[in-house]
């Protein structure tokens, strides 16, 4: 019945963590969720599958990345064959809003932390199954512009609480390049954006070549590259764009909106937001502000948190629900921090205390100590066997559990030992206080 051992192999692109690294990931998940909830985003989960026709056509090249799902038994293949696993959380959220609009309150703020699947070619830091942590706000008909400033500031607050080091959120507004391109006579806005989006990867010479090949003049290509070269942490980017001498109503609109976002960032989280006029985002549903996020010193990892404003994603033909959102690529971020910066958790279990067992006859006594500690919020485990104490201490040590508890006998009271320092003291489970820094696993750097 059991397949041979050779079958037990990783599946490329479907990552799994060891317990200590999963504890690190949970620290990220819990911190992000806490910040999302502090900002009044409601939790939401959507089903993992959507009709394939809803997934197709959303998100650019998504049709090449979708995993189809169907019952192996097959009698219903005809009915089920049109389901696919979602490749992001924005498309399912837009569908959820349309489906439940009558029972939601708008503007509707939600967060969603779930797995998504993409059948892309796996490479380092790119997975086929991964967790995203998203916030979005949607409203009916109109969306207040201050929400476009709020999204990256919520993420900045989460990142400041996480061991990611310095980071930078780059902001642009799709209307800036759109209006600019139209202002210089480049009418294929999407095509031009796609080429300029490759700037960091292929360099300015190749971008110029491709723009010219697509019909641009050398001067148009020069101006498009000059625009993409502008970045500033303050409002000076507006003058820099103006200095290029291009004018178009859409450009004006975009610059105004982008200036508002950058100004709000400068006030509430100085040094965090940077206007970067090269940011375009691949997904074709964005219509206004777009975001990308880099960890300083690890720019080669690419963006670890991206998003933007969309207008036509959720529409039933009569009513449109414009929205803005941002998404943390959690799996990617945590795996890179584990692999490249050596982060992990200080132990491989939530247990802060191992309650030793003197002999099997007194296991119930150890169980009562553990129950008392748990009742006071201290995670603990009772030793699995009544081995000699040296072996029980090694059991704790191998898992990084900092304390071993020795239940007393009729003659002597309980004692607790900090196995890191070796210090052993009298203790009472009903009053002992676990040091705050030991109650939960800490984030540490692997030796």
């Amino acid at each position: 019945m059991t397949p041979p051992a050779t079958k037990v192999t990783p599946i490329s692109g479907f990552p799994e963590l060891l317990p200590a690294d999963r504890l690190l990931e949970l620290h990220f998940l819990d911190t992000i969720r806490e910040v999302f909830e502090l900002h009044g985003f409601a939790p939401l989960e959507t089903r993992a599958v959507e009709p394939v026709e809803r997934l197709l056509g959303k998100g650019g090249d998504a049709d090449k990345e979708i995993y189809g799902v169907s019952r192996l038994a097959g009698e219903e293949t005809g009915r089920d064959a049109d389901l696919g696993l979602h490749f992001d959380l924005t498309v399912p959220f837009a569908r959820y809003v349309l489906e439940h609009a009558g029972r939601l309150q708008f503007p509707f703020r939600r967060y969603q932390i779930q797995k998504v699947w993409r059948g892309e070619r796996p490479q380092e830091g790119r997975f086929r199954e991964f967790t995203q942590a998203d916030i979005d706000v949607v409203d009916v008909g109109e969306l207040a512009p201050h929400l476009e400033a709020e999204m990256p500031l919520v993420v900045a607050e989460a990142f400041r609480r996480l061991p990611v080091g310095e980071f930078r959120i780059q902001v642009n507004n799709r209307k800036v390049p759109e209006g600019f391109y139209l202002g210089i006579g480049l009418t294929d806005v999407a095509g031009t954006l796609r080429v300029v989006d490759k700037l960091a990867k292929i360099g300015p010479r190749k971008v110029t070549e491709q723009l010219v090949a697509a019909g641009a003049t050398e001067e148009q290509a020069r101006l498009a590259l000059a625009l993409a070269d502008i970045r500033s942490g303050d409002l000076s980017f507006v003058d820099e764009v103006r200095a290029l001498g291009v004018s178009h109503p859409t450009l004006d609109e975009g610059l105004r909106a982008l200036a508002a976002v950058v100004a709000a960032g400068a006030e509430q989280a100085p040094g965090t937001l940077v206007a970067d006029l090269s940011v375009a985002r691949g997904l074709d549903y964005y219509t206004g502000t777009v975001y990308e996020t880099q960890l300083v010193g690890s720019e080669e990892w690419g963006s670890v948190c991206s998003g933007g404003r969309y207008d036509s994603l959720a529409s039933d033909g009569r009513t449109t629900y414009p929205g803005v959102g941002i998404s943390i690529g959690l799996t990617r971020l945590v795996h890179l921090l584990v692999a490249k910066r050596g982060l992990t958790a200080s132990r491989s279990t939530p247990a802060a205390v191992l309650v030793a067992v003197v002999d099997e006859e007194s296991r119930a006594r150890s169980g009562r100590v553990a129950a008392t500690l748990r009742g006071r919020g201290v995670p603990c485990e009772v030793a699995p066997s009544a081995a000699r104490f040296g072996k029980q201490i090694r059991y704790a040590d191998r898992r990084g559990i900092p304390f071993v508890w020795f239940p007393g006998t009729d003659d002597a009271g309980d004692q607790v030992k900090d196995i890191r320092s070796g210090e052993q003291v009298d203790a009472d489970a009903a009053t002992w206080t676990c040091p705050a820094q030991d109650l939960r696993p800490a984030v540490v750097t692997r030796d």
Copy 2:
């Protein structure tokens, strides 16, 4: 680009919750996770997919329930077609243990809370996509018997903290019916178990008919039914079985193990565990203790938490990793509590406070109040528009947000209003304390 509105429909068997009900579900998830962690279970997540050949043959009729997964793009169909979505968390966990055995510490205690998928015919309370919350302990070669007593006690502790009312965990040991059937000369143990397992559904007369049709004598059928009829919250079940006059070494072994589990339960959680000799569990990988859980008064919902001991699930041909685990059917449990007992959360957002906005010019001032409250752990939201205060209060009321905060002006200080009582008092964001019962959404019964 946007599909017509008619396409936005639920998919049978793939449930989704509205925000208030999702907040109720999160309360369940958080409580269960907290209890699991207090007991020293390490968090784990496995990938959603396994090779189909690993899923087939595990878990009885699972082959009829598996969802296959393959890339729509198709170039790799040949390689990917052998992946399927997992239908439980035990089979992937066993595979994870085999794959990572060299880097795990045994006995290995883990919890896992994830979605699973089954292509079964959907019906009330049965879903095709649902969340399970599992704990398991595996060891190398041998598994300490006290662990079989521990699993249901951990679940009992979680359930006591949850608004599920009275519940009963039924325990049996596969070896009891196995040894009993062999003792009365019924050698098709699995076949007999399958028929007797239908007792609650089809009644004793039909069970007798089916057993006789399968070759049992009337007397053998009578004895098999008499065994299934035995249940007790104390150790009296042992004498009741003995009184049937059957003896077999496997029966003795099973009775001894079951008595140990029931005795541990009676000591640590009186009234929670019941020996119920009709419990068999469908999955064919169980070899010892098996568990099922009923909510008292809602027995027709079936088991909301099940599990058992398994010996050959994780084996690489040389080493076997026996394990024991129990799984809470979370989606099923929460959906039934919402639908049948009217449970939900007291509000549809985590926000306890809505910070009003006097006018758009002073939005930053409201933002600073919100930042101060958040810094002190109070979830809050800034009003999305500077509408008149009556409208802003209605915004809070419709979401169940209990407090509205009015930022002061140069002349007057801040005030906070409890919109349920109408009481409005002076307040300072740096010192105001949100009543503990309002900080998080509470569990309530729908009107």
